[in-house]
C-alpha cells in the first residue's frame, strides 16, 4: 500500500504532529504509515483522506505484493 500523505501534508503545510492530533493518533503512527511500515485500518485511512478533503484513492494506492509467477 502506497500513500501520498507526505505530499498532502506539504500541500496543507502540516507537520506530522498536526495531522496526528487532528485525526487522533500518535505522531509515530503517521510516520510509520508514511514510511510504509504500517498499513492503516480503513477507518483511519478515511479519516486521513477526509481531513485533506479528497477521496481515499487519491491518498492511498493499493499495490498487491509481487509474487513469483511461473512463466512456463
Amino acid at each position: 500500500m502506497k500513500n501520498k500523505i507526505k505530499v498532502f501534508r506539504a500541500m496543507h503545510d502540516m507537520t506530522q504532529e498536526d495531522l496526528a492530533q487532528a485525526i487522533g493518533v500518535t505522531r509515530q503512527t503517521i510516520l510509520a504509515i508514511e514510511k510504509g511500515k504500517y498499513v492503516p485500518s480503513l477507518d483511519l485511512a478515511f479519516k486521513i483522506a477526509r481531513h485533506f478533503n479528497v477521496n481515499i484513492e487519491e491518498v492511498f494506492t493499493y499495490e498487491p505484493e509481487v509474487q513469483a509467477v511461473n512463466m512456463d
Binding site: 487522533g24 493518533v25 500518535t26 510516520l31 510509520a32
Partner: protein, 154 residues
Amino acid sequence: MKKNTFYLLAGCIALVLLTLFWYSVEINSPLLIEIAFVLGFILVYILRRMVTDLIEDERSRKITEKAALRTFQVFWVIFCAFSIGAVMQILRVPTFPRQHEPMRPPTEIFPPEIMPPKIMGYVQLWLLCLMIFLYVGFRFYYARKYGDWEIDEE
C-alpha cells in the same frame, strides 16, 4: 492528567508494591502483598483512564495484540509440555515387578524418584517469568516491525 504524570504515579505505585512485598516477607503475611497487588493495579487502570494525552492508538493496540498472541502461542506449549510431564510423575504408581523383571528382595526396593511437587511449582513460576520476557521480546520485535523507531527527517 498528562502522560508523564501518569508514568510517574505508576512508578510510585510500583515502588510502594515492592516495599510492601518485602514487608509482607518480613511479617510473613502473603495476604498483604496479594491484596496490595490487586489494589495497585486497579489504581493504575483508574489513573490510566484519567490521562488526557493520547497514549495508544490502533497501531500500538495492534503491536500489543500481536505480541500477546505470539507470547501465548509459545508459552502454552512450553507450559503444557512441562505440566503434562509433572502430572505424569504425580500419577505414577509403584507397580509390582513385571514378569521380565527378576524378583528382588524387599531391601532392594526403592521408592520411585519423582520430582517433588514443590519443585514443580517453582519451575512453573520460572516459566511464568519466562512469559514476561517473551512478551517484552515480542513487543520489541513488533514495535520495530511497525515502525516504532523509524527515523524522522522532520
